[in-house]
């Protein structure tokens, strides 16, 4: 048997490789943020870039998120493609005004004359024992802002492929990196990274007939684990990885729900005002007559992200997902 030497690689390594390849391919790509230079980022995602491309292309900025994103706007106006790092989810909040008042609307404001090809990398989500302000799931804020793409990988291949696409995009992309998957390994060949589906396309990670789990980012492996566990109950669960929250892939999601008639949306973000509400509404509007049960949500509780010693009670786990699936069955029988 002949096999290509495909070593296990982590998501963090794939992201580094994507940045490096993007910078090598396009001299207008600039990486910037706090600690991205000599330190290589607190998660080491920008490791080695300053050494290889110089400090002008991988720049340690002053500690100021609005300033990082605001100066990136001016750099994009002058023809560069800035990739900014926000270090941690809740650290991005000072940059919200730049993101919402300028980054998201500059194309629209100028009738397409001034597009801003900026990638905003935001490590997000919990599960790593981070203290306050280090575990937020802020995707709903970004989703609510027209003009932004909101993307989040769950696999090593997607981490590479989606980041390359985000950097190449002529629109601003909020690139949400699930912190807890940074060290998750997968077999992946960095010399020949496989092509992945484009931004805006969801993929079926596991086909199934009983019900569809719709999820993204850090919850994808949890849902796959739940699907495995569900086999014991005789349930054949399908798992859809959204990959992109904006644009949203109604087609793939609705096709799946029409097949199974049952759907559970799973994410770490709060349920109230969270992405799951929007997704459930879209499914209900489009697939109502195919549904055997109401669309359920398994989400983080509606509370500020809990302290690390309690976060396991907050995060949607396998049991909570299976309970929801059980409720789907009950609803169908009842």
């Amino acid at each position: 048997m002949t096999t290509v030497a495909v070593k296990p690689a982590t998501m963090a390594q794939a992201l580094t490789r994507a940045l490096r390849d993007a910078m090598a391919a396009d001299p207008t790509v600039h990486v910037m943020g706090e600690d991205v230079g000599a330190l290589g980022g607190v998660f080491r995602v920008t490791d080695g870039l300053a050494k290889e491309f110089g400090e002008d292309r991988c720049t340690d900025t002053p500690l100021a998120e609005a300033g990082i994103l605001g100066t990136a706007v001016g750099m994009a106006m002058y023809g560069l493609r800035p990739v900014v790092e926000m270090q941690f989810d809740a650290f991005a909040y000072p940059a919200f005004e730049q993101l919402i008042s300028h980054v998201s609307r500059m194309r629209n404001r100028t009738r397409g004359r001034m597009p801003l090809p900026i990638t905003v990398r935001v490590p997000y989500g919990g599960g790593i024992g981070g203290v306050e302000h280090h575990s937020d799931s802020s995707e709903a804020y970004y989703m609510a802002t027209p003009g932004l793409h909101v993307v989040t990988p769950a696999t090593v291949a997607d981490a590479y492929g989606l980041l390359r696409q985000a950097i190449a995009s002529d629109d601003p992309v909020v690139f949400l990196e699930p912190k807890r998957l940074y060290w998750a390994k997968d077999s992946w060949n960095p010399e020949h990274p496989t092509e992945v589906e484009p931004i805006g396309r969801a993929v079926v990670r596991r086909p199934g007939r009983s019900a569809t789990l719709i999820t993204y980012g850090p919850s994808v492996p949890v849902c796959l684990e739940a699907a495995e566990a569900a086999r014991a109950e005789g349930w054949d669960l399908e798992v859809i990885d959204l990959r992109s929250l904006v644009p949203f892939d109604d087609e793939t999601v609705c096709a799946a729900v029409r097949r199974t008639g049952r759907a559970v949306v799973v994410h770490e973000s709060t349920g109230f005002g969270g992405p799951g509400g929007e997704i459930a509404a879209r499914i209900t509007e489009r697939c109502f007559h195919h549904l055997e049960a109401p669309v359920l949500r398994v989400a983080g509780f509606d509370l500020p992200y809990p302290p690390p010693m309690l976060e396991r009670h907050h995060l949607p786990g396998v049991d909570r997902i299976l309970d929801a699936v059980a409720r789907l069955q009950w609803e169908a029988e009842g």
Partner: protein, 384 residues
């Protein structure tokens, strides 16, 4: 006997040597705003430049009165007049080379027009037919920024990018006194100084942030003093003295272009009109204050200098007035035409590639417009 006494006399180690990274003295602004008109320095000013400044001031004043009149006719949703501040805006535009960039705030339409932007396109935002009417690249003018001070980091980023590319481009960013309290002001100045970006910040201190006076805005000795903390020079200038503002800004632009880094310029001026046509300025300031500033009018200051030195005559003054009238007549005439709006264009510039969701919403609006047209068609048919 204490533990320390047992070990002998306690001698704390001295801290590592410390010294300020920059001598703050050369960065400090003058105690008095710099002036040229009516002083000996005026003799050194270029007569052609003074005449050009004058023509632009007169046009600017007329633009302000015409635009304010258009708000009363309902042709503009709102207009923030810059009457009294014309010298700052005109000097801002004239201190730049063609390849340089201007980053205006919403009150800076005169600077935008003086850069060559069509006077009607400069008002698109305020008329309400689109957010930015002009192509920023054509005259290198960023869109008028409504949020305060948020355009300042853009100026820094653009100047930084230009320098990385090897272009000797300077960015000039305009902000008001109120804007200096915003976080983005701080972050922009700090980035600019750390990166030694070729950018000039011009604060038009017109006395008020809507109704809040400068004394309630800052406790700093002057806004120009803020520069020292960032490690860049601060300059204080009489904002109603067009020659002085032009000289100070030109110096700062030259300094930036030569690699000397950023400068913060505070122009002390006054907003003669209310914040906008929707504001009642009598609630927060008195007539005496306004009268004192009216006596220090930027147009009269420059006209007096030019007349005294026989650089213009009555005919030239009349010619400038006539030119401004023609500009106003053209502005009035074109603003009184209803803009042609295509509602479908709402969907054209959200993303490079329209999303499936926006395509659906586009179809919905199209159907609504078709139904509207059909209804109007039937109404007209019935009338016949």
């Amino acid at each position: 006997m204490t533990v320390m006494e047992q070990r002998g006399a306690y001698r704390p180690s001295p801290p590592p040597a410390w010294q300020p990274r920059t001598d703050p003295a050369p960065l400090l602004p003058d105690a008095e705003p710099y002036r040229v008109l009516g002083t000996e320095a005026a003799a050194k000013a270029d007569p052609d430049l003074l005449r050009r400044l004058y023509a632009q001031l007169v046009r600017g004043r007329r633009y302000n009165t015409q635009a304010t009149a258009l708000t009363k006719q309902g042709r503009l949703a709102v207009y923030p007049s810059s009457t009294g501040q014309e010298a700052c805006q005109v000097a801002a535009a004239l201190a730049l080379q063609e390849r340089d960039w201007l980053f205006p705030s919403y009150r800076d339409t005169l600077a935008v027009v003086a850069r060559g932007v069509d006077p009607v396109e400069a008002l698109t935002l305020l008329r309400g037919d689109w957010h930015s009417g002009y192509d920023p690249h054509t005259h290198r003018v960023a869109p008028l920024s409504t949020p305060l001070a948020t355009q300042l980091p853009h100026a820094v980023g653009l100047a930084h990018a230009a320098r990385l590319k090897g272009d000797d481009v300077v960015a000039l960013a305009l902000v008001g006194d109120g804007g200096t309290s915003e976080g983005d002001f701080h972050e922009a100045l700090n980035f600019a100084a750390v990166w030694q970006a070729p950018v000039v910040f011009l604060v038009q201190n017109n006395g008020f942030a809507i109704s809040v006076p400068l004394a309630k805005q800052t406790a700093a000795p002057s806004l120009a003093h803020k520069a020292v903390g960032y490690g860049m020079p601060g300059r204080l200038v009489d904002g109603n003295d067009a020659a002085a503002v032009h000289e100070v800004l030109s110096d700062a632009v030259r300094h930036a272009r030569a690699g000397g880094g950023p400068t913060l310029v505070e122009a002390v001026t006054y907003r003669i009109d209310a914040h906008t046509n929707a504001d009642d300025a009598t609630r927060y300031r008195g007539d005496a204050e306004i009268a004192a500033w009216r006596a220090h009018d930027p147009i009269e200051l420059l006209e007096a200098e030019l007349t005294t030195r026989a650089l213009i005559d009555a005919a030239a003054v009349e010619a400038a007035r006539q030119d401004a009238e023609e500009m106003a007549a053209d502005l009035r005439e074109r603003m009184n035409r209803d803009p042609e709006l295509d509602p479908m264009a709402l969907f054209d510039h959200v993303y490079a590639e329209t999303t499936a969701q926006l395509r659906e919403q586009r179809a919905l609006l199209q159907a609504e417009l078709d139904a509207e047209q059909e209804y109007h068609g039937e109404q007209e048919g019935g009338a016949r």
